[in-house]
Symmetry: C2
Subunit: 309 residues, 2 copies
Amino acid sequence: MDLVIVGSVAFDAIETPFGKTDKIVGGAGTYISYAASFFAEKSGLVSVVGGDFPQETISELESRGVDTAGLQIKKDEKSFFWKGKYHNDMNSRDTLVTELNVLGDFEPILPEAYKTAPFLMLGNLAPAVQLSVIEQFDKRPKLIAMDTMNFWMDSALEELKEVISKVDVITINDEEARQLTGEYSLVKAAKKVLEMGPKYIVIKKGENGALLFDRNNEVFFAPALPLEEVFDPTGAGDSFAGGFMGHISATNDVSFNGLKRAVIMGSATASFCVEKFGVERLQNITEKEFDERVSAFVNLTQFDITLDE
Amino acid sequence: MDLVIVGSVAFDAIETPFGKTDKIVGGAGTYISYAASFFAEKSGLVSVVGGDFPQETISELESRGVDTAGLQIKKDEKSFFWKGKYHNDMNSRDTLVTELNVLGDFEPILPEAYKTAPFLMLGNLAPAVQLSVIEQFDKRPKLIAMDTMNFWMDSALEELKEVISKVDVITINDEEARQLTGEYSLVKAAKKVLEMGPKYIVIKKGENGALLFDRNNEVFFAPALPLEEVFDPTGAGDSFAGGFMGHISATNDVSFNGLKRAVIMGSATASFCVEKFGVERLQNITEKEFDERVSAFVNLTQFDITLDE
């Protein structure tokens, strides 16, 4: 087991200016797993679903090297469900329905094989659940990354801070970094978060890319690929996290240069995710398409300036 | 004469969350000239001021290689004046006072020496003024760049379109690109603008960097340098334009790779501008500081990924 992934496995119903879906498969854990499976040899998913969740999705994840021994199935209950509608600019959305269902009293249980994995990606979930997963490891993973959201800052700030103090990498969006620290400047916000425990912070800015900071004032920026159309932003941040940690677990490289490459891989993965509803596009990325996408990032960002000595 | 610069030379009074100024020297032409002077051997400034404008600023520009034979001085009139206040997020501002004064009936007159210059930067001004400058050239410059703003889209759209049809590079911000084209997607907006005439478009996104597009679907992105504090954003776009065209005129390189380098130079120049009120910081950049800033851009954006063949 190279990478343990924790996050919701659920149903979404999504409306964007381009169309709407009925209940489709979604959830942070699902997006992270699909994204990571493009890189990671063997990952394991810790989550919970109801009896209504399609077995074919579970089988497909298994076929991609995602072990689902950590995925609890509560046959008589229903899976988590979220319904949302994006505004015209795609940068904001309204939540129309949230049904916690099986997620309401979720107690994660790590299979034995997961407890020595070197990499852990804690997708957005209740801080208490994230903490329980960390505590079940026999040996602290080499690198723990976490995602979270403003909801937990409002409702479980102290527990959230405890999780933050125990991880190596935190990924949050710009508004959340501001809320968490009270700093408008993202440079200042990053510094404050790094004082809370993590070695690295990735601040996600949606269509404006992502910033990676370390404690030595190193900063790396990856733009989002300029796309003609963002069809459905749902899961973009989770796909980023999955590509990021999938690449790190595949290379075992936790240097700053390795993390920079992982940020590019995460950004490339996210750029596919937003092209279709749900995980559809993540299910069908070819190696050739992925390499072309990474080439596009190289062309987008690389320049040749030689400074005089 | 390598580079002709057109734009307002004026007074500003600025209020930001960090402080406020009385009347200080400002104006697009001023910022562009200071920024370009860091690169260009010899530039010429076309503008108009009143008798109230300080001779010492004019002398300082001259000492930096900015010829001011094209700067009309109307002794009995007053210089253009703008007063504005930035909101807390620094991304938006309110205009409190606009006094056109000498700019109201400005008719640009190009000195003979300017009429064969290979490079022309049309700063934000009335499209009719920009057009008049283009028409006074004996020989079309090798590269003409223009900046503009939403005000002219609202008040002089047809004239603006005529100018746009005659230039090689247009720099506008994201909201202006959307307004000009009716396209929310910046990729689509860029395509539409390029159909209006220019070979290149630079879409400025403020703290979120700048995108350079050509007609062959090449795209380059330069982030803004993440700064702890943006003290005063006034003139950032003009400093970008000045650094961009100053670098191009100094290198005579109008290839796409040359333009990419110029975008980085423009971004680096703008990153200095916002550190102090007005042109103060642009007046005091050392070579060493500039090289360090460019190094920071290299570190911020460059990564090393080798794709399998």
